[in-house]
């Protein structure tokens, strides 16, 4: 059964500007061999500017692969992926890296903070890679972490933070460069319900206040229900975009 999203629920969405546009995207592993795996099949969907979208599906359905394709971490076998009008599949390795650096924010299930950097250093790292000076990067990072309620944890190492705090640092890191889109791979997967709720509220706040576009891979129906819409994937196929018109 399909359902129609209420276009009016999120007033921040700019329905005229697709931030992410996938068209006929395929990903095959071990192509041409007996062990060939068709991980993503003809994926077609759009995510509009300011949307907060959940990408859901059972284990092994191709969610993470799709996210990696969007983030340019792995190349697509065929099809078109556009982020902010940039055709990802036309980019070489170097350009994809640049795209990630400037236009994409990543949040991982296991937070993936660098253990040897403090919360502040983890967050400022993407700014430094963009060529910001230490002072500039520090200023922005401090503001960001204060916004995220971590003003007192700047000098703490990841091992000194709770899971929720770690994920907030990871969110800060993904946001710090004002990316076009944030890609979250099970961002609350390692958190308990209360921490999960805290993180979700933060996503919503970011989405609302900064008009930030988010695409979150999740297993959690509860998370999905809190997003603007849910894109569902099964066996590599998009079975629901959340924009279908019910008859």
């Amino acid at each position: 059964m399909t359902e129609q999203i209420n276009y009016t629920t999120n007033p921040n969405v700019d329905w005229t500007t697709p931030m992410l546009d996938l068209h006929g995207v395929n990903k095959k592993y071990l192509e041409g061999t007996d062990a060939e795996v068709h991980a993503v099949r003809n994926a077609d969907f759009k995510v509009y500017k300011g949307e907060m979208v959940a990408l859901m599906g059972p284990s092994g359905s191709g969610k993470t692969t799709l996210l990696n394709l969007i983030g340019g971490l792995t190349p697509a076998t065929s099809g078109s992926i556009q982020i902010n009008d940039i055709e990802v599949t036309d980019l070489n390795e170097e350009e994809r890296t640049k795209l990630r650096r400037n236009s994409i924010g990543y949040i991982f299930q296991h937070f993936n903070l660098l253990e040897f950097l403090t919360a502040e250093q983890n967050v400022m790292l993407p700014l430094l890679t963009q060529g910001y000076s230490d002072a500039q990067a520090k200023r922005r990072t401090t503001m960001m972490l204060r916004e995220l309620g971590l003003g007192g944890r700047l000098e703490h190492f990841p091992s000194e933070l709770s899971g929720g705090q770690e994920q907030r640092v990871a969110i800060g890191r993904s946001l710090i460069t004002n990316p076009a889109i944030i890609l979250g791979d099970e961002p609350t997967g390692d958190l308990d319900r209360s921490a999960e709720e805290g993180v979700l509220n933060m996503f919503r706040r970011i989405n609302k206040e900064k008009k930030q576009t988010l695409l979150l891979v999740t297993h959690s129906e509860w998370i999905g229900s809190k997003c603007d819409r849910i894109i569902r994937i099964e066996n590599g196929e998009i079975v629901q975009t959340g924009l279908e018109v019910t008859s």
């Binding site: 990696n68 660098l114 040897f116 890679t129 000076s133 230490d134 990067a137 091992s159």
Partner: protein, 1076 residues
């Protein structure tokens, strides 16, 4: 049994990790074996090098005076003019003794004449060559002459006017022509004595035109001095000498004088090979003594003029004494390199266990006990230890061979001549040392592995570094403090009670050092436990450094003697190393921040993500304190060792200019006539200056002086003890030889004196501060000698003075006479004259030149400086008065090592040895050497050893590079997921590579800085101790240090680049999935 099987299987289950462990252990064992093999082979090689020149000869009989003959005539009291001595010839008498029959297997007699060889067609002259008479019937043990085609040459085939010439001599005399059938003029001077004995020595000259019949390569087993000499049958040469002296005797007789001749069969050497049962050492010493006693009994005064030498035994003894020290040194340095190897092994073992942390976590989670984890890891470690140690034995022998190869290059051996000594003992000890090492280094990581936080490991979170040593600080702090304090109480002498007196003997200082270290480290560890760990460590580091610096800059200066010292030097290095490494590790955070800021400053205008890259590199280094410390400590150790040896040998090589100037009296060149002293009437000095007084020339001789040097003279250490006789060279100096400052104002440097000049009774000069001024003091003593002043002997009687170089007993390595003591010289009237040693000269070109002789190494004989007043009365100078044979020249070239001087000397020799000069003044033959080269020649052995040592310690870089490779692989392996994340965040591949490489470069550079500071301090310490009170200028070899910096830099890049590039190529999506 099952555990064993599992462990054995596990060895092969993790090939890459375990190969690293095996390689690490093998490296340690290889170093151990290699150092032992190198050290054992060093002794054998040096012995080989030293005995090379004596061939198969075990012992020899020779005259005490090197230019005289084994004097048969002296044996005959009834008729000194009879050609045949009473009771048979010397050899007949010798071979009749029991000492000979019981001990001697073979014997050969030789007659050597020092000769000038002239090529008549070109006028070319080669001086100081040897003309040797060989017994045609000599035993094959003494060698066989072969020509260039390898055919045997027999001297019995030669007519009296024919000769065989050595290949090297032919190359010097003939350039393009075929020399066979050509003539050579050979001039020899022989010395005999007047009658009654010792009244006057007379030089008799023999000149012969000889035809070259064949060219020989080498004498094989009985090598004389390679192949730069001439060969005739012994009887031919004996006849010539005999006839020459007989004619001189007749001429002297007609003038109313009497000369004492030699028998019809004069000899200069008798070579002996002992029977098989006589072992070199005690056996050969006894056999030598027996032969000496037997000859004394037959020939009476024989002992006074001739000596039997235990040639091979003496060499073995000297080499044993020398290599004992060298081996110790090699083992000391080797121990430090092995320590570096141990650091690598610890790192590898930790890496191997860290890599399987997750597996251990799962095992623990499913119920494996800690003891089972330890046992499994240790059992595996047993197999790895065995494999590694076995591989290490093979690698060690190869490494040993490499060292021997270096030894060959450094000492210019034919490598085949150096035996590679691999003893069973070395192999067995090395195997077990490697095995135990692998178990010990495996045990601690295995215990740590068993203590992991299971939940943390399974979540994939890195373990935080331990913050302190826990109760270990308390236990060790208490034990160290106790040992230190108790130890200090037992010291005698005790620095706390006796002050500086406790520092005079290096053995005492060495014994005290560890107790003071314990007393320093113990309380600091207690501070670490009770107060603050970081503070405690800082105190340990500072105290260790402070104590080492106190020793280097204060205690070393007070040390006057002692037999040991190697352990002391190792303590010093260890203190410096541990101190600097601890301080660096404690402050790694600050260093990393500073490094990051510096690189950020350099990259301030960069638009690339370099700041992010550097932050990751520096912070990563700081977060892994133990691993980073092990890595830079490894480089610090290797570089300390290399820079230490480098600065020391460089200073000794190039920081000796002022010393050479003092030793050489300011002269740059020594030009001498080895065979025939030039009559003073020639005015050679002036001729030389005139000929080369060309202002257009780069080298301009500003002054030249002639001196007379006697070939050798007999003197007595004690007048009433005939057994205290020795030989020395004597140099006669005139009042204006050195100090005619009005005529030659630049010529102010007298030769350097060793002795404490403040004790001389002569007038002393003082500088503005009232301190004795060395240059003037030297001048005072030399002037006192030149002016024939007297000095009180030990009984208070005024006696004439002489200056001497060290009177050294090489059998005991002791100096026999000091300033103020007396020696006794023979006068021409047959009496002994007492001289008081006014001062001891450090050596000078006049004494260090073994003039014209292949008969002995330079510098082995003492030289006396006497004035002209005594010259005329001394037996040593009789018969050669008014001649000069040594000329010192001063030039306008400042750099004594300049090759311009060498080139110039070729011109001087060309001029003086050319036909025109010889036609004008006669055939004298001139040799020119730079004074620096004389000094260099004296220190050649040391230079070569330094060279070898440098090659030896630079092999430590192999260990260092291996260490870096390990760290690079380990770092990359454990960072796979992190690298994926960085790539996801926008790090380019090359940013990942740069961050990994940069981390290693920084660690290498920290090691370099520590190594530079410590190595330079140690180099300074060793230079000031061995440089004889600062005469060697301490120099820092910046070029070499630049090279080491480049090697370190390149090592870091090369070690890291491969794993880093490989890791950067992993797709980020795969890397993110990696769980370790």
């Amino acid at each position: 049994m099952i555990a064993l099987k599992t462990a054995f299987r596990n060895v092969f289950r993790r090939p890459s990790q375990n190969i690293a462990v095996i390689l690490g252990v093998a490296l340690g064992v290889s170093l151990f074996v290699g150092v032992q093999v190198g050290s054992d082979s060093l002794g054998a090689g040096l012995l080989e090098l030293s005995i090379h020149s004596i061939g198969e000869r075990d012992a020899s009989i020779s005259p005490v005076f090197t230019d005289f003959f084994i004097n048969e005539q002296i044996l005959q009291e009834e008729d000194p003019f009879s050609p045949v001595p009473t009771g048979g010839t010397f050899l007949e008498n010798l071979t009749e003794t029991d000492a000979y029959k019981n001990n001697v297997a073979a014997i050969t007699a030789r007659l050597h004449l020092r000769s000038s060889v002239i090529q008549p067609e070109t006028g070319a002259i080669e001086v100081g060559k040897r003309w040797t008479g060989i017994d045609p019937d000599q035993h094959p043990a003494f060698g066989i002459l072969t020509n260039l085609e390898g055919q045997t040459l027999n001297v019995a085939d030669l007519e009296p006017h024919q000769i065989y010439v050595g290949e090297e001599l032919i190359e010097d005399l003939f350039t393009d022509q075929d020399p066979i059938g050509k003539n050579l003029t050979v001039q020899s001077s022989i010395t005999t004595l007047g009658q009654p004995p010792f009244v006057e020595s007379v030089s008799v000259r023999i000149s012969q035109n000889l035809t070259i019949v064949d060219i020989f390569q080498d004498e094989g087993l009985g090598r004389e001095s390679f192949s730069d000499y001439l060969v005739s049958p012994l009887s031919t040469l004996q006849e010539l000498v005999y006839q020459g002296i007989e004619q001189a005797k007749v001429a002297a007789f007609l003038q109313g004088q009497f000369l004492l001749g030699f028998g019809s069969q004069p000899l200069t050497d008798v070579y002996i090979v002992w029977k098989d049962g006589i072992e070199i050492g005690e056996g050969s010493e006894t056999a030598t003594l027996r032969l000496q006693i037997a000859l004394d009994q037959i020939f009476g005064d024989f002992a006074a003029l001739h000596r039997v030498s235990d040639t091979r035994g003496n060499i073995v003894r000297q080499i044993d004494a020398a290599t004992e020290g060298l081996s110790l040194l090699l083992n000391g340095f080797g121990a430090i390199i092995i320590l570096a190897g141990v650091l690598v092994i610890i790192n590898i073992q930790s890496m191997a266990l860290a890599a399987r942390e997750r597996e251990t976590g799962i095992l623990r989670a499913v119920g494996a006990k800690r003891s089972q984890i330890i046992r499994a890891n240790l059992l595996e470690s047993v197999f790895l230890g065995v494999f590694g140690s076995l591989a290490g034995l093979a690698g060690g022998v190869a490494y040993g061979r490499l060292l021997v190869w270096f030894l060959g290059i450094a000492f210019e051996f034919e490598t085949g001549d150096i035996p590679v000594v691999v003893t069973d003992e070395t192999l067995i000890i090395s195997f077990f040392a490697g095995f135990i090492l692998s178990q010990v280094t495996g045990l601690i990581p295995a215990i740590n592995a068993s203590r992991i936080n299971i939940a943390r490991v399974l979540r994939g979170i890195d373990a935080p570094e331990p913050e302190d040593f826990g109760r270990k600080s308390l236990y060790f702090g208490f034990i160290f403090t106790l040992i230190g304090i108790l130890g200090i109480f037992t010291l005698d002498p005790n620095p706390l009670i006796d002050g500086n007196d406790a520092f005079t003997n290096i053995d005492d200082v060495q014994a005290a050092y560890p107790f003071f270290i314990f007393t320093i480290v113990g309380p600091a560890l207690l501070v670490a436990y009770f107060r603050n760990f970081r503070l405690g460590l800082t105190v340990v580091g500072l105290f260790l450094l402070g104590f080492a610096y106190f020793n280097v800059f204060y205690v070393l200066d007070k040390i006057e003697g002692g037999s040991g010292g190697l352990s002391y030097i190792i303590y010093l290095v260890a203190s410096l190393l541990v101190g600097t490494v601890i301080l660096t590790a404690v402050n790694l955070d600050a260093i990393a921040s500073a490094g990051q800021r510096i690189t950020a400053w350099f990259a301030r205008s960069s638009t690339t993500p370099v700041r992010g890259t550097t932050m990751v590199a520096f912070k990563k280094m700081r977060s892994k304190v133990t691993r980073s410390t092990l890595t830079f400590a490894l480089f610090a150790t290797i570089l300390t060792l290399n820079i230490w040896i480098g600065t020391f040998s460089y200073s000794f090589r190039f920081g000796v200019d002022s010393q050479v100037v003092a030793l050489t009296g300011g002269s740059d060149l020594v030009i001498y006539s080895p065979d025939n002293p030039l009559p003073a009437s020639i005015g050679f000095s002036q001729e030389l200056v005139d000929e080369f007084d060309d202002t257009a020339r780069e080298v301009q001789i500003t002054d030249a002086r002639g001196f007379m040097r006697s070939p050798s003279s007999l003197y007595y250490l004690e007048a009433d003890d005939p057994n205290s006789n020795r030989t020395a060279n004597s140099v006669a100096i005139g009042p204006d030889s050195f100090w005619d400052s009005t005529a030659q104002e630049n010529w102010i440097f007298p030769f350097d004196l060793f002795d404490n000049k403040t004790e001389t009774p002569f007038e002393t000069y003082e500088d503005q501060d009232g301190d004795p001024e060395a240059t003037f003091e030297d001048e005072v003593v030399w002037k006192a000698l030149a002016n024939n002043e007297t000095m009180a002997n030990t009984q208070g009687e005024q006696k004439p003075i002489l200056i001497t170089t060290f009177i050294f007993d090489f059998s005991t390595f002791t100096i026999e006479k000091w300033q103020g003591e007396s020696v006794y010289l023979n006068l021409t009237d047959g009496t002994l004259q007492e001289f008081v040693i006014g001062s001891i000269s450090n050596g000078a070109p006049l004494s260090d030149l073994s003039l014209g002789s292949n008969f002995g190494p330079p510098g082995f004989s003492s030289t006396f400086y006497v004035n002209e007043h005594w010259k005329d009365k001394l037996l040593a100078f009789s018969g050669i008065s008014d001649n000069e044979n040594v000329f010192l020249a001063r030039t306008n070239i400042e750099d004594q090592t300049s090759s311009v001087l060498e080139d110039f000397l070729i011109d001087v020799e060309g001029w003086a040895n050319a036909g025109s000069f010889q036609n004008q003044f006669g055939s004298y033959g001139i040799i020119g050497v730079t004074t620096y080269s004389i000094y260099e020649g004296q220190l050649e052995g040391q230079f070569r050893f330094f060279q070898f040592l440098q090659a030896f310690v630079s092999l430590g870089f192999v260990v260092g590079i291996l260490g870096l490779v390990v760290v690079a692989f380990r770092s990359v392996a454990e960072r796979k997921r992190e690298i994926g994340m960085l790539r996801a965040l926008g790090f380019r591949r090359r940013d990942v590579v740069v961050s990994v490489v940069l981390e290693l470069i920084v660690m290498g550079m920290i090691g370099l800085v520590i190594g530079f500071v410590n190595g330079t301090v140690m180099g300074y310490a060793l230079t000031s101790v061995n440089g004889g009170g600062g005469e060697v200028e301490f120099l820092i070899p910046w070029g070499l240090i630049g090279l080491y910096a480049a090697i370190t830099f390149m090592s870091a890049i090369l070690s890291a680049i491969f794993p880093a590039v490989r890791a950067s190529q992993i797709p980020p999506s795969d890397a993110l999935r990696y769980t370790g």
